[in-house]
Symmetry: C2
Subunit: 328 residues, 2 copies
């Protein structure tokens, strides 16, 4: 344990630099006028004393808040038990740390979006990151947080969004399947209310209908377990299926597991594709053909956008690129 050394305050810095608190504050925040001399002296004082502004005091006077809230919509708190959410939260925490901000996560029930209002009533909330965003949520963002909110998924006139190009990714996958001769292509989807799943499914349907092919859909839930049962269901309903598109890698791996257990060759009899390119996709057998997208970058971009208080509706789309391996 280190000895108790009281961290330096702005007063200490001002005294050491021989200026007033106001001037020191101005130099440090970079607002308002300050002579080069004053600037210089304050800077050295800051360095020498190892001054770190007190985030709480700053937030108090500015009414700014002290943490970024990641609000995740879903049917149950279990949405938070997910690698994707973990990555988003963790990336946000990394972005926020140097700014003296923390990150909190909370679940917003899909059937009680008003819960978001309660969560954001707290003055401590400096910014909002909406995940799994559904339309009703966007109208519940308080005016105070306007310009300090970014949505991963759908945005609105006032809320900018950052997103994966799910449609593009799925299209690339389906085209690849088609190009390799598959014509009876089924899909294990995600919950339809989820924008990202919805968009993926739309892309799948669009391409199939363009080719005059019928869609074969089974609703899944992003889990490997559901992938297993879904595979079974698909082969029961449409025994001639020659390709299965998984909504995510976990689902695809579940599908493959079930297929192989039933003696179905992958990709010989049925090609299977994933989505996400999780680290393990390359080491499974067969290695997974999937679409890759930079989740960490997206989360980082989203958190950065919140901190930068960018204004006006913007929509940043991150590409999803096909990764060809062995399963399709």
């Amino acid at each position: 344990m280190t000895t108790a050394r009281r961290p330096a305050t702005l007063d200490d810095v001002a005294r050491a630099a021989g200026v007033s608190r106001s001037t020191a504050s101005r130099v440090i925040t970079g607002t308002g006028f300050a002579s080069p001399t004053a600037r210089e002296r304050v800077r050295t004082a800051v360095d020498e004393l190892g001054y770190r502004p007190n985030a709480a005091a700053r937030a108090l006077v500015r009414g700014g808040g002290v943490r970024l809230l990641v609000a995740v919509a879903g049917t149950s708190p279990a949405v938070l038990d997910d690698t994707y959410m973990d990555q988003v939260v963790s990336a946000a925490a990394r972005v926020c740390a140097p700014h003296g901000l923390g990150v909190a996560v909370q679940w917003v029930p899909l059937d009680a979006p008003r819960r978001l209002t309660e969560l954001t009533d707290d003055r401590g909330v400096a910014g909002l990151l909406l995940v799994n965003t559904v339309a009703p949520l966007l109208d519940l963002v308080p005016a105070r947080l306007c310009g300090r909110t970014v949505s991963i998924g759908i945005g609105s006139a006032t809320v900018p969004s950052v997103d994966i190009d799910n449609g593009g990714g799925i299209r690339a996958i389906v085209r690849h399947l088609y190009a390799s001769g598959r014509r009876r292509i089924a899909m294990v989807t995600g919950p339809p209310w989820l924008t990202c799943s919805h968009r993926s499914v739309e892309a799948y349907r669009g391409l199939l209908s363009d080719a005059g092919l019928p869609a074969r859909e089974v609703v899944g839930d992003f889990s490997a377990a559901r992938g297993r049962t879904a595979a079974q269901e698909i082969l029961r309903r449409w025994p001639d299926t020659d390709a299965i598109v998984g909504i995510c890698d976990a689902t695809a791996l579940g599908v493959i597991g079930r297929l192989r257990a039933d003696g179905v060759q992958v990709p010989g009899d049925v090609a299977v594709t994933g989505f996400d390119d999780i680290p393990l996709a390359s080491v499974t057998a067969p290695a997974l053909t999937t679409a890759s997208h930079p989740v960490r970058e997206i989360a980082t971009a989203a958190a950065t956008a919140v901190l930068e208080q960018r204004r006006g509706p913007t929509r940043t789309l991150f590409p999803s690129s096909l990764v060809r391996r062995d399963s399709a």
Copy 2:
């Protein structure tokens, strides 16, 4: 967007309840005296006004800090790019959210542990969660944060720790391998400075030496990629190896990938085991025999312990249990 409704302050509550700010504060924090009547009136005022205490103001006056810092030791910032870290951060953020606290993550270079002092100089830090803890770090925890620090890994006389029973898990695995007739058991380890890896390796060596068997170790880095090359290396140095213990599931999957590519039967020729029981361990082919431990629970317990300001050195060990599947 919702209309701008100024969040209620303590003054509003006091006025509505017809008591002084002091009394209201006492009721809300639950410290000091308050008559049942006053208590009741303040409570209803809080409910009606939807009052949420301002975390920043509270932190300012109490000198308490406003976020929990997750400090991760490692050789490079890439340690943070890890599912395990993501889970820890995310779990901490979940625990902290209802308390009006945020979570920040920062990397502490293994060769510059003093960086921790800079990070904790910030008054905003309310608590500290040490991950990948190495001994020098424990002495750098500032007195102010004493009793508000928990280490995942090794602890000290002043810093309580929460940990996985790595030794127990690896012992269970090696015993299982031995019981199924394996006698030439190799291991792909993690970086030796990492306590958890160190403990696992110690357990492996201990059991092998008890059985009069030689250890066959290759140093890895927790990655699947390294698992692949390590497998190759092991079979080159000790061609008669009949079992490989992976330090984690990713490594084990890399090992399996390489082995199968080389035409080696798993588990026929060589049994392979993982460690962690990641969600995919059950869907790979062959399904991974591994050890399971509740990472989320551990992180939750650690974060909770930080908030509860528990005192005195305690050591909580979470069990690691063998999960028998097909790979060994």
